[in-house]
Structures are given as C-alpha cells and as structure tokens.
C-alpha cells in the first residue's frame, strides 16, 4: 500500500511541493495544515499510538494478531490451498459456460494493481533503512500471515455482495457487515457498515488520492525540475475526471495494462541484479536471518527490525483493511470461497515476492554501510536509521540500489511510481464510490458528486504540503481495518463452514477441473 505515514513524512520533508506552494502564499498553507492538524490530531494520535513502553503502533499489532488468529482458525489455509489457488487463477475450475464473465485472474490482477505500488518501492526501503536487513524476515512472516486475513475478507466480500437486476454488482465489507450480522442475529452490523464506509471515503480521498497525487508530482518534479504542484494536480484531475466521469475507458485500460507490465519489469530487473551478485545471495540471506534475531546493530535491535518489518508489510498489502474485499467481489463464481483462495495470493505476490525483491536488491548492492570493525551496521548522525551510501532514504534508496546496476533505471522507476499512483487513484475512486453509494444510495447525481469531490482532491493533493492530511488519511485507512477486523472475528465462523463444505466436496470429487 502506498499510504505510508513514515514515507509521507519523509516525502513531505525531502521533496519540494511544500516550498513551491509556500512561495506563492507564504504562511497560508501552514495555517491550513495547522488548523487541520489540530482538528484531526487526536484521531491520528489514537490510531498510530504505540503500545506503552514500545515504539510498536497498536494498529499494526491489531492487524498482525488478526492475521495470526485467522491463520490458526483456518488451519494454515494459505499453505493448504496455495496450489489450489493457482489452479483457480489458471482457470482449471472455471465453467466454460461462464466465459466472458470476470475471471479469477482478472479479479486478482485488479486487486493487485490497487496494492502494488509505493509500499513495495519506498516502504520497503524505509523498513530496511531503519530496521536493517532483519526487517525483511519479519515482513515476509507478516505477509504470509496476512494471506489468511485476505482469504477471510474476500470470501465474505463475494458471499454477501449485492447483485442488481441490471447485472451490476456491489460488494465489500459494508455489505458483509450488515447482511452477515443480521444473518447471525447479531446487532450493530449496520452501524459498523456505516462507520467503515465513512473511513473508506476518507481513506479514498486521502491515502488513495491526495497522497498518490502528491507522490506523482514529486517524481515528475524530480525529473523535469521543480514547478508548482497544482499544474500536475490539474492534469491528473483532468485525466481522472475523463476516466471516472467521462467514461474514457481507454486511459484506464492502457494504465491497467501498463501497470502489470511495470510490475513484472521491476521484479525482472531485481532478479537480474540479484543474479549479477549471485555470489552474495547467501550472505544477503545470512544478513536477513541474523538481523531478524539480533538486529545487527540497528536502532532498537531485534525488536526494531520486527516492528519495521511488520509495519511495512501491513501497510503494503492492506490485508485486513477491507479494500480488497471490494475489488474481489465482482468475480463470477458459484463458490464465494474460491475468490478467498485466489485473494490469498495477493499478499504473497505483494509482500513475500515483490517487497522481498526490493529488500534483496538494497542489501545486495550494499547501500547500507557496514562497520568493517564489528560487522554491524553503522547508524546515521541522528542515530535513528542505518547510514546509507549518499544518505538516501525511502524511494531514493531503492532508486539508488537499482541505479547502481542500471544507470537508467531511476527514470523507469519514476515512471512506474507515477503509473502506480494513477492506477491506485482509479482503484480507490471505485472503493470510495462504493462506500459513498452504500451511505447515500446508487444514482447518477449522487455518484457524480463523489466523483467531482474526488477530482478536486487530486488537485489539492498535488499542490499542497499535506503532512497532517496524509497522516489523517492514513489513520482513516487503518480505522477501516479496526472496524473490518472487528467484524471479521464475528463472521469468520461463516467462512469456516464454507471452507469445510468446499474442502469436502473437493475431496469427494464433486468439485473437479473442467476439461479445457
């Protein structure tokens, strides 16, 4: 996921959008930011508050504990059904008569384009830069556990979606909260659904929109030189408007085709770099394992590595947040649980594969400075992160690591970040819209109001230095997770019934592959 509080703060400080605005209206943005920060501060502080005596945000603990509970409750479903999930994506179990409907592959690819992005590029660099190589180990552990959370929420997303007479579908946590709770005779489902929808709208406008616009502008300004952010904002808003209001599908279609290509290219480039340093692969994994349990001199030691790894994984793959349940609910299947199986591949691809690739490239290209005397990592002057070659952090650390092997790669990376940002905006405009229509009802005018608000926020996001707003929108997205995971604990027994029934029918041969 791209809503990286820490990276947001880094970006806000390290890049130039803020000063650009400040030159135009000195002090005004600061006043707005301050007023906004004062208003939203308590909420933000609450969501990101650490457990007493630690630097570990409770919200990350909330997500990791949930992922662990689901993993145990479903008896390691992510391992038992991993190969079955791949068969489903390949279409082995798809009824040929359903050809032309949304396939498992398409639902997975759409959901992935909403999660793969800055979290995989910049977030990992932040984790490694602060927590050391050992953070990679904990990131992988959290990614593997998160697969069970995705499985739970996406199964429910399909099971309780609304299918309308005109053939369109709407699904997501708000629907399984209200329908699932009422089916179980539990009170409060509707209240949870409304709460979730409110947070989802705020998260969509903030992390899914303003933060993306802001980062896209930083990348473009980094290449062509500094210029006012509102120009990027207007261009982006125009394109987003054309897509979501004007129905100009060709732009979205092109992006949806280019983004996976960029993702594959990123992984391939990482693989080539790793192969180029094949003699150091053993050493790099040694650093990852040693760092996971000793810290290798990083600030906070082993616990520091663990916090960073867990935090970045949770921020990257959105497992437990509920957004994926909206994206996956459009699939055509008679068995909702099949989409749950498919969705568990998402944290695997996002975190276990792509994030690990980024981490290995940073480690193997030796961007982190080691003290030759002790073999431990050296800290920077502030003592809060590992010293890096040229002092890079965040996306510039990843960029430098790839750039050390291919000089041209930073340009490709910048284009990838802009495209990832755009595809994320398109995805979140849809998630936000679904929450909006849940609250206010379906209808052209009502939907148009949200879409116009969304476009206005693109301009604001690109133009301003929005540290407090980004903090708030991040907090809103994690507030989605608070509500969503709470509901999942009550609804998980429904998923277990589905799982038991499906597993029995799979074993008996009632569910079998279609001869393709």
């Amino acid at each position: 996921m791209r809503m990286l509080k820490q990276f947001g703060a880094f970006a806000a400080g390290a890049f130039a959008a803020g000063p650009a605005l400040a030159q135009e209206a000195p002090g005004l943005d600061e006043k707005i930011n301050q007023a906004f920060a004062d208003f939203t501060g308590p909420f933000v502080s609450f969501i990101f508050a650490p457990f007493p005596g630690t630097g570990f945000p409770w919200i990350v603990g909330w997500l990791v504990i949930a992922a662990t509970v689901f993993t145990v409750y479903f008896a390691f479903v992510q391992l038992r059904f991993f190969s079955h999930a791949i068969s489903l994506v390949k279409g082995d179990y798809s009824d040929p008569n359903d050809a032309g409907e949304v396939s498992h592959f398409q639902a997975l690819a759409t959901a992935l384009s909403g999660t793969v992005g800055l979290g995989n590029i910049a977030g990992v660099a932040v984790a490694i830069g602060i927590g050391g190589p050992g953070a990679t180990f904990w990131m992988i552990v959290a990614g593997l556990l998160g697969m069970a959370s995705k499985f739970t929420e996406c199964t429910l997303g399909v099971k309780y979606r609304n299918e309308y007479e005109d053939g369109t579908v709407s699904g997501g946590p708000m629907y399984y909260m209200s329908k699932g709770f009422s089916e179980l005779g539990l009170p409060g489902g509707k209240i949870l659904a409304v709460l979730f929808s409110i947070f989802c709208i705020l998260g969509a406008l903030g992390g899914g929109n303003m933060f993306q616009a802001n980062q896209a502008h930083q990348q473009i300004a980094g290449i062509v030189g500094d210029y006012p952010g509102w120009i990027t904002g207007l261009v982006f808003a125009g394109i987003v408007f054309a897509v979501i209001v004007g129905g100009l599908k060709s732009i979205a279609s092109v992006t949806e085709k280019v983004v996976p290509f960029m993702g594959v290219m990123y992984v391939l480039a990482a693989l080539v770099i790793i192969i180029m340093h094949a003699d150091q692969i053993g050493w790099a994994f040694g650093q990852i394992f040693a760092g996971a349990f000793t810290g290798l001199g990083v600030a906070g030691g082993m616990v520091g590595a663990l916090i960073q790894g867990f935090r970045r994984a949770a921020f990257s793959n959105e497992a437990g947040v509920g957004s994926a349940a909206i994206a996956h609910s459009a699939v055509r299947t008679k068995e909702p649980i099949t989409e749950g199986f498919v969705s568990l591949l998402e944290p695997f691809i996002d975190t276990v594969v792509i994030c690990t690739m980024t981490a290995l490239v940073i480690i193997i290209t030796q961007q982190l400075i080691v003290d030759p005397a002790t073999g431990n990592y050296m800290l920077n002057e502030a003592g809060n992160a590992i010293a890096t070659v040229d002092g890079n952090t965040g996306v510039s650390l990843t960029s430098a690591a790839f750039g050390s092997a291919f000089g041209w790669f930073p340009f490709i990376l910048a284009i990838a970040v802009v495209l990832f940002a755009f595809s994320t905006m398109i995805s979140w405009s849809y998630y936000g819209l679904k929450a909006w229509t849940y609250l206010f009802g379906e209808g052209h005018t009502k939907e148009l109001v949200f879409k116009i608000i969304f476009c206005v926020f693109v301009v604001i996001g690109a133009a301003a230095n929005l540290g407090p707003v980004i903090d708030f929108s991040d907090a809103a997205i994690f507030a989605m997770a608070v509500v969503n995971v709470f509901a999942l604990y009550f609804l998980m027994k429904i998923v277990r019934q589905e799982l038991a029934s499906y597993a029995a029918r799979l074993k008996s041969g009632e569910i079998r592959k279609f001869g393709h």
């Binding site: 032309g100 949304v102 398409q106 759409t110 709407s170 085709k257």
Partner: protein, 145 residues
Amino acid sequence: MTTKIVIGLDGTETGERAIAFAKDLAERIGTCELLVVYVIEWSPFTFQTPEENALRHKRREEEVELATTRIIAPAVDALKAAGFEAHGIVRHGDVAETLNKITVENGGTQIIVGRASADGFKKRLFGSSTQNLVMHADVPVTVVN
C-alpha cells in the same frame, strides 16, 4: 445419420460467403444440419479496472444479445426460410479454440469459415484466428475466399 456442419461467422461479408458455401454443400449432402456460431473474442487473462469488473456481467449479456440479434438470428432465420435445419450459438472465448470446442461438443463433422479480411501487425505476429483454427482444429476446416 444427419451430418452437422458448423459455420463460423465474424460479422463481415466473408461470413456471407461461408454461409453460401455451406448451403451449397448441405444441399449436395442432403440430410444436413447447420450450426451457425459467433465467438466474441475474450480472454480470462486481461487486466481490467474495478469498475469494468463490476459492470462485466451486464456487458456480457449485452454483447451476447447484440451478437444474437445482429448476426446469428438473421443468419439462422434466413437458413430456415431457405428450408435448412439451422441453429445458432454465441459464446465468449478464443475464436479458434472455442469454435473447435463447440464443433466437437455438438458432433460437428466440419467447420466452414470465411477468410479473415483484416490485416495488421498483430495478425502478422500471431496469425489470424482462421490460421489458428486451420492449424489446431479436430475436424476438417474449409476456408472460403
């Protein structure tokens, strides 16, 4: 025993020639059933936006409706009016693969298609649906020029 001939249409005039050829063949054979098929090119491995996914079921229905009313129904009606036994099928998928599969499923003995008239980079690179059909079909294929 009734011979079953499958006619693959693509909505262009080459399809008309394929139908004319099939009619001629059916008259010569005598007891013959004609199965008119239109395959809507579709792959389960493409990338779509969330909104496209949400609308997909609706779009699919519209595509099938359009293909049925504009292409298949007129062709089947014309064949029936001319005294032939004819049926129509519309399905999504890879054109060559799906046409062959429908033929096998329905016990068709041969496929008649028009030569693809379009040309372009993609067809040079991957070959046309007609070429793929000729290469991989399980029954004899007649390509009408």
